[in-house]
């Protein structure tokens, strides 16, 4: 545990010190240090507590997977949880504490769980939540005790830009094979994006040296070639978190999420070194050999003074030489094999010359902690070699190098097929998905030369697949001199504490018990035991768990299969996933006019609309009532530009509308409009609007605000499907529209247009095209709000001018702008429905009591067939109107709100769909969808807030002007 003299290739800047605190203690490191490397250099070995038993834990991988070394980092008022100490560069001023402790790392009160293991069996969560009675208790307890880190609720939202990238070839992993693949593809003219999760390229080529610099120098040459090739873009500190269809790969950079669309993908992600499983394998000081090597060469830190290397491959012997090269005492090499393999032999002989004893046929028995919790000794038994027998070695570090598991999550996600290959004791590629390639360790290739050759082949193949150069000739596989991975590096102990999964503290016996309880497939075992479900997602545990499962079932691993890591297979910051928030908002051309009139805004679909216009000294309700009264007594004007607006032209235009709407349009006269209801195939009401006939083959019609975009797409689909000769034009955003309504509407409009507005020339439901205030307009005489009204539609660029002219009129009265709330009340007084408010996702046309709108004798309309079936069935619900008694003067009246329930006895029998205070009628009125039985009665019981019930009288709408005389208001006598 010390900082070494300068190491060639180190990634620290010794001229720039970094000072921070860890658990209250001041620590000094260098720029380029990670939190873990700085702490290790400072002699700190316990970095965190385990999730379940709160055991002290230290380094494991130093590769971004040290789940027991996650930190809460506070800096400058910000507090960030779950910072991965093993990869995040530390910065001056940081206040770092370990997550998942109570009372601090050294004296974690929850360490008591380490002695309660017998009461926390495998599947504890499932068993705890099995019964209803204790569910709330367990839930509270788990919520209190579990969870990593603390969310800073005061944190401000970060707008993280997402971006897109494009390339011919995406190479994931910049180790020797990835570098070679990138160069091979680029040489053939491909644009290459090369990404690596580490802060610098090179992978194990730079740190797995075996005490010499040959491999590192060759790797550095590859890096230099890559950096000098303009066709290759290198992104470091970036990991590929998920593969999606068509070579769409999610890259997570320190700043943002990058979505890459590649024409082909080469997976060169290497392999995760795997731990051996023996009692005490989680003690601080026990780590993967590659972790120790990374610290040596990247940060010039020796992770121990005296180590044993527990190994079963040549990489372990190389690690022992690396230790010696930096002054670390190697107490022994413990080889799990009965003899040294040919690839390991030269290193073994070198170690022997330097006085390091190697034991063979080793079975580790137990690592024991010294005072303070760090590893202090290892007891083992050797059964082969020159000195068999039981031994115990005093040490402060155990470096494990017993094998690898391929980082093949992307390959799985791309639908490539894997197969277990016993000769390398790992899954290798059986079949690659089209356009996907693999090379290096993920492909079962381990020597430096073989990995470079494999990368060359993959890069050339990917380029050739894109038509760049010829396909490479037959792949040459180097002979495998020894297997890099031990078949079963698992050594159960009667007293347990041999950890398979460091995320969830899962021991060998937990998995054996899970199998015995029937969870004996990889999928079931994962869910029951939670193995592989922690932050590292099983990168260091899934393979060993699979080996245990295979042994318990007495089957080979290849018979079991494995799980597929879903994207994202590595944790991604939520801010990255959220990205920059794009929330398109639409505004009508009159938006600035509403703003200047004091509009109070409300959302309507993705539009913003004036809810009402604020008036100084008046409440919201008073302002809305004034707007309603203005329309009923004089004139008002509302912006209805949010309506969907569509033109349809062509010889089949009328036929199209006949099929889309329930009403008849073939007999609609030119110059007239008609109300239309639109259904889906099941007869459910999905929209309504007004259809105007402009010419024999031209119609103009409206849809509801929220449905306009969806319906226009559907119209296009239907027109194509039906093969009708029509042309559809979407005018929704390009046209403005406002409704001038009230008894004075005609007199006001007449001042600004030359067309004849008389009842005879422009009757109710007519449409005319004319100039209004000099602008070309379509004027429809409709009566949604129940008064004489003109809905004026015009190109958006003229909207402001015409609106201003009409609003400035003062004879015979001024025009008062009114908002959505006033319009809702005005139409409610008339009993007019709003689709989506007075209907829901299952309301069919028969339930709305509008038989006049359904022309069942037409040959066809969408939903007609379903209505014919529904006609023969009892109604599920019916729309009814209701009124509340007029309130007693001076007494507050309790009123229902929309969505309050209608009751029949104690059963739910419907709901209120619209309700409000009618200034015109001076009482509360509403609509409700209720059962037909209730609809046939005289009163409704409505449950309002706090469970109180009120009684309403069923009243057939319209509540106002039942004869419809006001909207047909003729010329004054």
């Amino acid at each position: 545990m010390s900082r070494l003299p300068a190491v060639k290739g180190e990634r620290i800047d010794r001229d720039t010190a970094v000072e921070f605190t860890f658990e209250g203690r001041r620590v000094r490191g260098f720029r380029g240090d990670t939190i873990s490397s700085a702490l290790t250099a400072a002699g700190v070995r316990i970095l965190g507590r385990s999730f379940k038993y709160h055991r002290p834990r230290g380094l494991l991988s130093v590769a971004g997977h040290d789940v027991n070394a996650m930190m809460q980092v506070r800096n400058g008022g910000r507090s960030v949880p779950n910072v991965r100490a093993d990869i995040v560069p530390v910065q001056s001023g940081w206040d770092v504490t370990a997550v998942n402790t109570r009372g601090g790392l050294e004296s974690d009160r929850l360490a008591v769980f380490n002695r309660l293991g017998a009461f926390l069996p495998v599947g504890f969560y499932y068993k705890a939540f099995h019964g209803k009675r204790w569910f709330p208790y367990w839930e509270r307890m788990f919520r209190r005790l579990t969870g990593l880190g603390e969310v800073d609720f005061q944190a401000t939202a970060r707008s993280t830009p997402k971006r897109y990238e494009f390339c011919d070839v995406l190479v994931v992993g910049a180790g020797p094979s990835g570098l070679a693949a990138a160069l091979a593809a680029a040489e053939r003219g491909a644009s290459v994006l090369l990404v690596d999760e580490n802060p610098a390229p090179g992978g194990s080529g730079l740190y797995a040296r075996g005490g010499v610099s040959d491999t590192a120098e060759r790797t550095e040459k590859l890096i230099a070639f890559v950096q000098g090739d303009s066709r290759i873009t290198l992104l470091t500190s970036t990991y590929a978190a998920g593969y999606y269809a068509d070579h769409w790969v999610a890259l997570v950079t320190p700043e943002c999420l990058v979505k890459v669309r590649a024409r082909s993908v080469i997976v060169a992600q290497g392999a995760y070194e795997q731990p051996a499983v023996f009692r005490g394998n989680d003690l601080p000081g026990v780590m993967l050999a590659s972790a120790a090597q990374r610290l040596l060469y990247h940060h010039a830190v020796a992770a121990a003074r005296r180590v044993v290397v527990l190994t079963s491959n040549s990489e372990g012997y190389a690690a022992a030489l690396d230790a010696l090269a930096h002054g670390v005492d190697v107490a022994a090499v413990l080889d799990l094999r009965s003899e040294c393999g040919p690839l390991s032999k030269p290193a073994a002989e070198e170690l022997a010359r330097r006085g390091v004893l190697t034991h063979y046929g080793v079975r580790p028995i137990e690592a024991v902690a010294r005072e303070g919790g760090e590893v202090g000794s290892l007891a083992f038994e050797s059964t082969a070699g020159t000195a068999p027998g039981r031994r115990k070695i005093q040490l402060d570090g155990i470096w494990m190098s017993v094998g690898f598991a391929p980082a093949n999550a992307l390959l799985h996600q791309s639908n490539s097929r894997m197969v277990y290959e016993p000769s390398v004791e790992q899954f290798v590629v059986k079949t690659l998905a089209p356009g996907v390639y693999a090379c290096g360790k993920v492909n079962g290739t381990y020597s430096f030369e073989a990995r470079v050759a494999d990368g060359n082949y993959a890069g050339a193949s990917a380029a050739a697949g894109l038509g760049l150069g010829d396909a490479p000739t037959g792949k040459v596989r180097s002979p495998l001199l020894e297997c890099p991975t031990h078949a079963y590096p698992i050594f159960p102990h009667p007293a347990g504490r041999e950890f398979v999964d460091f995320d969830e503290d899962i021991q060998v016996k937990d998995l054996v018990n899970a199998c015995q309880e029937g969870f004996d497939s990889s999928e079931l075992m994962k869910r029951f035991s939670t193995i592989g479900m922690g932050p590292s997602q099983g990168k260091h545990s899934n393979m060993n768990a699979l080996r245990i499962l295979a042994k318990v079932r007495g089957e080979p691993i290849e018979a079991l299969g494995t799980t597929t890591a879903r994207p994202m297979f590595h944790p991604v910051p939520l801010s990255h996933l959220a990205g920059r928030r794009f929330s398109p908002e639409r505004r009508t051309p009159l938006d600035s006019q509403h703003e200047s009139l004091g509009a109070v805004w409300m959302p309507a679909g993705n539009w913003r609309r004036p809810e009402y216009y604020a008036v100084a000294g008046k409440s919201r309700e008073e302002a809305i009532s004034d707007e309603v009264r203005a329309v009923r007594t004089q004139a008002g004007m509302i912006d209805v530009g949010t309506l969907g607006k569509v033109e349809i032209h062509g010889p089949d235009a009328a036929e199209f509308l006949e099929r889309v709407y329930t009403a008849r349009f073939s007999n609609l006269k030119v110059g007239m409009t008609r109300y239309g209801v639109m259904l889906d195939e099941t007869g459910v009401v999905i929209d309504d609007g007004v259809i105007a006939r402009l010419g024999p083959e031209s119609f103009y019609f409206t849809t509801t605000t929220g449905n306009s975009a969806t319906l226009f797409r559907e119209f296009g689909r239907l027109a194509t499907w039906w093969g009708l000769q029509v042309g559809l034009v979407n005018l929704t955003g390009h046209y403005a529209a406002f409704n001038l309504a009230g008894p004075n509407a005609r007199a006001i409009l007449r001042q600004h247009t030359e067309i004849d507005l008389s009842e005879a020339a422009f009757p109710y439901l007519a449409v005319r095209e004319a100039l209004v205030a000099g602008a070309p307009c379509r004027i429809m005489r409709v009566g949604f709000v129940g008064e004489l009204g003109y809905e004026i539609h015009l190109p958006a660029e003229h909207a402001v001018d015409v609106w201003r002219v009409l609003l400035a009129s003062d004879s015979p009265s001024r025009v008062k702008p009114f908002g959505v709330e006033a319009q809702r009340m005005l139409r409610l007084e008339k009993g007019h429905i709003i689709v989506g408010q007075d209907t829901d996702g299952v309301t069919n046309a028969l339930e709305l009591d509008m038989p006049w709108a359904l022309k069942m004798d037409k040959p066809f309309f969408v939903g007609q067939r379903s209505l014919r079936i529904l006609e023969k069935m009892p109604r599920r619900q019916t729309l009814v109107g209701f009124t509340l008694p007029q309130p007693t003067s001076g007494q507050a009246q309790r009123r229902p709100k929309e969505c309050h329930l209608v009751l029949e006895g104690t059963e739910i029998a419907g709901r209120v769909t619209s309700v409000g205070w009618s200034p015109t009628l001076a009482r509360c009125i509403g609509l409700a969808l209720v059962t037909p039985a209730l609809a046939a009665g005289k009163q409704l019981k409505i449950r309002i807030e706090a469970g109180e019930q009120i009684t309403a009288d069923i009243t057939r709408p319209p509540f106002y002007d039942a004869a419809g005389e006001r909207q047909r208001l003729g010329d004054p006598a």
Partner: protein, 204 residues
């Protein structure tokens, strides 16, 4: 000139964050240019008879010597705009299309679009944050007078985008529904400020 759907206040300070000479990104409101749209089976021959250069390939555009661009959207819809010059010609055709005696099988398409011009060395950086289409090969394949047209989505809004190679480099002209004008412009400014020095203008 057409009226822009954009609030003029959005073209003023504080959105101008750099002088034109240092700008790596320039956004212009080009909505004022004259334009019209039409579709239908008779649209193509009618445009050709009216003297326009009509591109043959779906989703492509061509600019004639008078400075009028005709874009074919999908197969039989057309967007015609006086992008460099030619307002008179466009105005005259537009009036004909709006008259009662418009040609048969030609349907007018109202084009009150918000039109945004994007140019500058930072254009690719911006586009890669707002759109999933790779414009790099499109810029390579387009010329000053012809090239592809892309119907896509930018910052969540459906747009027609026309990449163009000009003397000053690459530019992109984007047409969108005017109701999104405020959102689109302010969002582009926000993203653009992150890209680097930015200037905005109108109709230049």
């Amino acid at each position: 000139m057409s009226r822009s759907p954009l609030d003029p206040a959005l073209l003023k300070f504080p959105h101008v964050v750099a002088g034109r000479e240092q700008a790596i990104l320039r956004l212009d409101d080009l909505s004022q240019h004259r334009r019209f749209g039409c579709k239908g089976p008779g649209a193509e021959p009618w445009l050709a008879a009216a003297g326009y250069t009509v591109p043959q390939a779906p989703n492509s555009a061509a600019v004639d010597a008078a400075g009028v661009m005709v874009a074919r959207l999908a197969t039989s819809e057309f967007l015609v705009e006086a992008v460099d010059d030619g307002s008179e010609h466009v105005n005259s055709t537009r009036r004909q299309l709006a008259s009662v005696s418009r040609p048969t099988n030609v349907y007018p398409v109202a084009r009150q679009d918000m039109v945004v011009g994007i140019q500058g060395p930072g254009i690719q950086t911006l586009l890669r944050q707002v759109c999933s289409v790779d414009f790099a090969p499109l810029f390579e394949s387009c010329g000053p007078a012809s090239g592809p047209v892309v119907l896509t989505s930018m910052v969540g809004v459906g747009v027609v985008a026309w990449p163009r190679r000009t003397e000053g480099g690459h530019s992109l002209r984007v047409w969108l529904d005017p109701s999104f004008a405020h959102y689109f412009w302010t969002t582009l400014l926000e993203v653009g400020r992150g890209v680097g020095a930015l200037v905005i203008g109108s109709n230049t």
